[in-house]
């Protein structure tokens, strides 16, 4: 699964996701990716979020819309990403990752899988790319 979130110069937000699904899935199986609010959500009033991982578990928390709702309550994107990934694991035994940008251009990124490949470009332009985001959550779940 791949995803992208963006904030433009006019202050507009957008999100896109795309996937080939799971290897050897049952024909007709659909995960979270194309489901609005689960795989992705964007609202200029709050932020944009894209999720990836174990789709059936991500759906249960409507993860991307939940992220935007928490942004609306004033939480910072990084705190939102970490909180929701923690909930994903503790509440529904799910695994995945989440990227967020809020309407102020602040970024959040978290995962409880061994890796999440990502890249962030900010004015400079400053490019940060990697396969692990150095938060306490990601450190906890490195591959044994």
């Amino acid at each position: 699964t791949v995803g992208a979130v963006a904030l433009d110069l006019a202050g507009n937000l957008a999100v896109g996701t795309s996937t080939g699904g799971t290897p050897n899935k049952r024909p007709g199986r659909v995960g979270d990716t194309p489901l609005v609010g689960c795989g992705a959500y964007a609202d200029n009033a709050t932020g944009a979020a894209a999720a990836t991982g174990w789709g059936e578990r991500l759906m249960r928390l409507v993860l991307s819309k939940s992220a935007c709702d928490l942004l609306a309550q004033g939480e910072a994107p990084q705190a939102v990403a970490e909180r929701l990934i923690r909930q994903l694991e503790q509440r529904v035994a799910g695994y995945g990752g989440l990227i967020i940008v809020d309407r102020q251009g602040r970024v959040g990124l978290a995962h409880n899988t061994p890796h999440l490949s990502f890249a962030i470009v900010r004015p400079g332009p400053e490019v940060l790319a990697g396969i692990e985001f150095p938060t306490a959550e990601s450190e906890t779940h490195r591959l044994p």
């Binding site: 963006a6 996937t19 080939g20 990716t33 194309p34 695994y95 490949s117 470009v121």
Partner: protein, 159 residues
């Protein structure tokens, strides 16, 4: 200030594929960033970035997708505009090289939000979105070799 963020999936990335994952994400993010830096719309930036990732066989999307139990690819995509809350979504399409672009065309058609399967492919043709040979979308074996990590309670690798 504009910002562009992309991801290439969350799971275990085998060591031989890690650099390709990093570089693919960097390339996609910079593609989207170039749209933003030129004053382009966030919607155009995310579509451009996802198209780059769909073209890269490193990732499980577009070209490089995993196959299902019948040996076929079934692709899903969603795009959403935060300005209007409009969205377009497609699922289980087998012959679309860039599902993200089909999702956008669905959104811009103003008629529906979510279309699936053969109906979505028929609409792709009507909307001028090119179709392709499904064989062109299958993941090379090198893209999935060694990817056998699964968490407790799960039988198959994730999206």
């Amino acid at each position: 200030q504009p910002v562009m963020v992309v991801h290439g999936g969350a799971w275990h990335i085998p060591p031989p594929l890690r650099e390709a994952h990093r570089e693919g994400c960097r390339r996609a993010a910079l593609t989207g960033w170039n749209v933003l830096a030129a004053g382009g719309a966030a919607l155009d930036a995310v579509e451009a970035a996802v198209r780059v990732l769909e073209d890269d066989p490193t990732y499980d999307a577009g070209r490089g997708s995993h196959c299902n139990l019948q040996g076929e690819v079934e692709l899903d995509a969603l795009i959403m505009d935060g300005r209007t809350l409009e969205l377009g979504s497609v699922a289980a399409v087998k012959r679309v090289r860039h599902p993200i672009t089909l999702a956008r065309r669905v959104m811009e058609s103003g008629e529906h939000a979510f279309v699936v399967g053969a109906g979505a492919e028929a609409w792709a043709e009507a909307l001028g979105v090119p179709l392709c040979d499904p064989a062109d979308l299958l993941a090379p074996s090198s893209a999935i070799a060694g990817d056998d990590w699964t968490p407790p309670g799960m039988r198959l690798p994730a999206d």
